[in-house]
Symmetry: C2
Subunit: 591 residues, 2 copies
């Protein structure tokens, strides 16, 4: 296909769009690939749509290669199935809800586990029908609280979602592995630098789950890696608890007066000044910080929750969100504290010398008390005394208090040990491109998907769920490849692999541009020809913004039989004889 820029529906913009947070968003808009229609909702212009369709083709090919069969579900769905799995409620404000003219509740599908489960239930009845993998490339909807970064987090977006159906866990493992390998092929073909990390299952339920993250400084996800090969989304990191300490070795509790200290740092300074230890100075890591949240369940009921964690660590909001999902925790407000006068801010403790414990099952106020995994039996802490201006030292877990549970949501730090002992963690950021889940029987049970097994008994089917962000991939590739001059597509995704810039007013130049374009087109290479009446400067700048990988400049040199070949990716420029141009282009495309 040959397109002429004079008639192509595209205009480059000189200025960044409002609220362009990341380069991919800025350049996709400035290059005329997409346009914002509403917050988090974009229209695809011809160039952008071509890239999107190429991503779709790659995804489709790799899904078909593992035997997955393509189907297509509606986006507008009835409430009932989502009611049966409780997601109608759990999705909360993230769900776009619609009431039809007859008053029926409907929704715009954020993901389709329910519909796939019911469809398989409708058609299949025997273990002989399995295994089965179905996929669709479809438009999804989530009413994000903070749509951002253009296509990276939108409210209407294209996903490939697939679902596997197996009679047993072995089958599920095989289906999961097949998808995992297909995803590796997909993201490799997209040219993305990606990592596979352990992930939280989140609202999807289920057990084993991994994410494919495109490494990107502007990514929303933080992940960790160790030298020994551990990799996890930071939300999924499960701290390996230290060994329990012998309780007998622990010191006795003692009151420490801590007036005017204000912060944990203040308490630590006071301890070092007035209660210095012989072996090592006090640090924040010796203190047990107790923070209180109000937890709101999907049904709207609320309850307080207190968390004890080492005083030198903050709570990671995303890890907290992921751990409690679908419930939502917010830090106690002044108003919340007013309802619990026993909670003395700055001095809260799971233990009190005078017996007025305010946290945990045996406490006065019966606030559920959970601790960081580092708070194992025998560890000794300085913590509040439930008395103003007093702390307690020598507070020993398992002796002086017993927590109601463990909640692993403290920040993960560069240098923290990997939970599998594979070395210190480094942190990096990424864009979630794919997610694979072993759902297990959760949806099949809720929706009663059973088939007859080898023994003629009804057996609940076990499922996997697998997603690729198709429209997001367009932005992720742009993010990874763009530079300060514009977009820069890999050959396999470029709307046109070749962009011919014809400069000047000499008709011979335009004729030669058309001739070379025709020759390339005959070889199956799509070409964009800048045939406009514009200055060379405008044309060169547009070529860089539009981002086709190979740029051929035909201008004055043509009189001497010369044209210039530019590699948009490396910036390399070479003069070549016009007769060698097509061969040189093919060579560059193949590189």
């Amino acid at each position: 296909m040959i397109s002429n820029l004079s008639s192509l529906f595209v205009r480059t913009l000189r200025d960044d769009p409002a609220a362009a947070e990341v380069p991919s968003h800025r350049w996709l808009v400035r290059a005329g690939y997409i346009r914002r229609a509403a917050p988090g909702i974009y229209s695809w212009l011809p160039l952008g749509l071509k890239v999107l369709q190429k991503v779709e083709s790659i995804v489709r090919e790799e899904m078909e290669a593992i035997g997955a069969q393509e189907v297509h579900f509606p986006a507008l769905l009835p409430r009932e199935p989502y009611e049966q799995t409780n997601r109608w409620t759990e999705y909360g404000d993230n769900l776009f809800r619609v009431v039809d003219r007859k008053g029926a509740d409907m929704l715009l599908g954020p993901t389709h586990e329910e519909m796939f489960t019911l469809l398989v239930k409708d058609l299949y009845s025997s273990y002989k029908d399995l295994p089965l993998s179905l996929f669709q490339i479809q438009t999804k909807y989530r009413d994000e609280a903070r749509p951002r970064a253009g296509l990276l987090r939108g409210r209407e977006f294209v996903m490939k979602d697939s679902y596997s159906f197996d009679i047993d866990q072995d089958g599920l493992e095989a289906s999961y592995q097949a998808h995992r390998e297909a995803y590796i092929k997909i993201f490799t073909r997209l040219g993305l630098d990606f990592v596979i990390v352990a992930a939280m299952a989140g609202a999807m339920g289920g057990s084993r789950s991994e994410e494919f993250l495109a490494v990107a400084a502007n990514g929303e996800d933080t992940f960790v890696r160790s030298p020994g090969g551990y990799a996890a989304n930071v939300e999924a990191v499960r701290v390996a608890p230290p060994a329990a300490q012998p309780i007998e070795a622990a010191p006795a509790m003692a009151i420490v007066a801590t007036p005017d200290t204000g912060t944990i740092a203040g308490v630590v300074d006071l301890l070092n000044a007035e209660h210095a230890r012989a072996d090592r100075p006090w640090t924040g890591a010796d203190t047990l910080k107790n923070v209180v949240f109000l937890v709101t369940a999907p049904d709207g009921t609320t309850s307080p929750l207190a968390l004890g964690l080492p005083g030198d660590r903050e709570v990671d909001a995303k890890r907290l969100e992921a751990a409690l999902e679908p419930s939502v925790a917010t830090p106690f407000t002044a108003e919340d504290f007013e309802r619990y006068p026993d909670l003395l801010v700055g001095f809260i403790s799971p233990v009190s010398l005078d017996g007025t414990r305010v946290l945990g099952e045996e406490s006065v106020t019966k606030i559920r008390y959970v601790v960081d995994p580092r708070v194992v039996d025998g560890t000794v802490w300085v913590t509040g005394a439930n008395v103003v201006d007093e702390h307690l030292s020598g507070v020993t877990a398992g002796r002086d208090f017993v927590a109601d549970g463990v909640l692993d949501v403290a920040e993960v730090r560069e240098g923290d040990p990997a939970p599998d002992g594979s070395g210190p963690l480094t942190l990096a950021r990424g864009i979630e491109m794919g997610h694979i889940f072993q759902l297990g029987k959760k949806y099949a049970e809720s929706l009663d998907l059973k088939v007859l097994d080898q023994n003629g008994k009804l057996q609940v089917v076990t499922m996997g769920s697998y997603g690729v962000g198709v429209s997001r991939a367009v932005a992720a590739v742009a993010e990874a490849t763009c530079d300060d001059k514009g977009l820069c597509w890999p050959v396999g995704l470029a709307p046109y692999p070749v962009h011919i810039v014809a400069t000047g007013k000499d008709q011979a130049v335009f004729d030669e541009a058309a001739r070379i374009a025709a020759e390339l087109d005959a070889e199956g290479v799509d070409v964009l020809v800048d045939d406009r009446k514009a200055s060379p400067g405008v044309k060169f700048a547009d070529a860089e913004i539009l981002g086709m990988p190979v740029i051929l400049v035909i201008g004055r040199g043509l009189a001497e039989g010369k044209v210039e070949l530019r590699d948009r990716r490396t910036g390399e420029r070479n003069e070549v004889a016009v007769g060698d141009a097509v061969a040189a282009i093919s060579e560059l495309l193949a590189r």
Copy 2:
């Protein structure tokens, strides 16, 4: 591509689905091509999706062939643009409305004139940029009051919509003609028997408009044709008014006592019995029937409207709906009549001997009075007298009453003259497959789409709007080709052009099926192989239901080197030597 029925995600059903109104719906569900997800909302299973994708490809190719450029808009759209063109209101209950988490009003796009207009306004500024045609293949939403017939009238459906932008009417004519020709190619390639008929522009506004109807007994649309080539959707038929008659020749008005007549037929009988005419008997066509409607505007305001039409014709509800759109007319109820005690049901008249006129601008009750186009000046009628049990004869249009306007909504009958004098009309039914409109400047004006013209002056752009029902086409082709045994696809749309049925338990049969399939696949022919352990009867019945055009049966005859080739379309069966099978299949596919 080769697929085996043993693993293909499809199950044929023995029984018709509930509420299967038309054969295409019945068979698409029974053959496992689609499944209902909600009223008027369908999921596409693998076989159905393949047909849909083939239709999409044909449409895309023909749109690109006329230089239209593909884009893709969101389905979830902001309210504002639709507010500016008043369609937010005019669409009424047909629009799916959504309120997002921030309280913003949104909608699921029923059609995208607004968004396209705004996008072109965003990018283009000069007549030099024009002409431009853009298209998308996209999911649309209309909350139909009566979704029916499966894919034929759904609430979520796939459409190709395109829009042309031109600087002047000549340009619009050219763009319209290009689309018209592309549509002829599309529907020809789909193998549909179609007619192009004059159409109403309806809610789209604009002037010239034609519909492409697939001729189908179960179609929702009624259209007319004349021997001389006139063709129109029945809603668009504009009756050619007869010549006005000299008023001087008209008889004087006279009171006719019509007690106990009840109906128009009763009045006619009485006239023939008591006031017989010498030249010809009285008929219903001599009477002027006055019917009253309550008209509700999109903003909810209501007003009465009276229509005078020949007593032998009914009002055609669809013609009335189309003529008044976006307002809606409902016949006066008993309650409505109570509010207008002057209106004596059965005796309503636009004229009264005693001066108590109840219809028309000069009437007592000031009800707007419109007439059928046949009621021209000088025509003479028998109509009500606004007095119980009395009619008036000799009532002459233009002398005794003057209507406030013309409303052409009476039923069109087989044998009525074509308005262009091209002979008597015949009526038939069809499925609306495509619609092309000359919108003109309506949307460009509402949304202020102007470009600089040749003289440097801002000029409102003139637009066309063109739609193809893509998912509907799947049903229309099924409707045209299915028989009492199942589906029967044309080669170009079949999910697999060839269906190989391997019967019996002989492994050699299955091996030969696989070998022939591989040979066809190598030639680029997709093949479905029935490799299941099922009886020949089950397999033959399924092959007929599934509807691939060419069926190759491999069974016992293989031992003697024979296979059977069946043409699903004609029912023809031929034994061929196994070595000739591939050549025979190719020959049959090319037929």
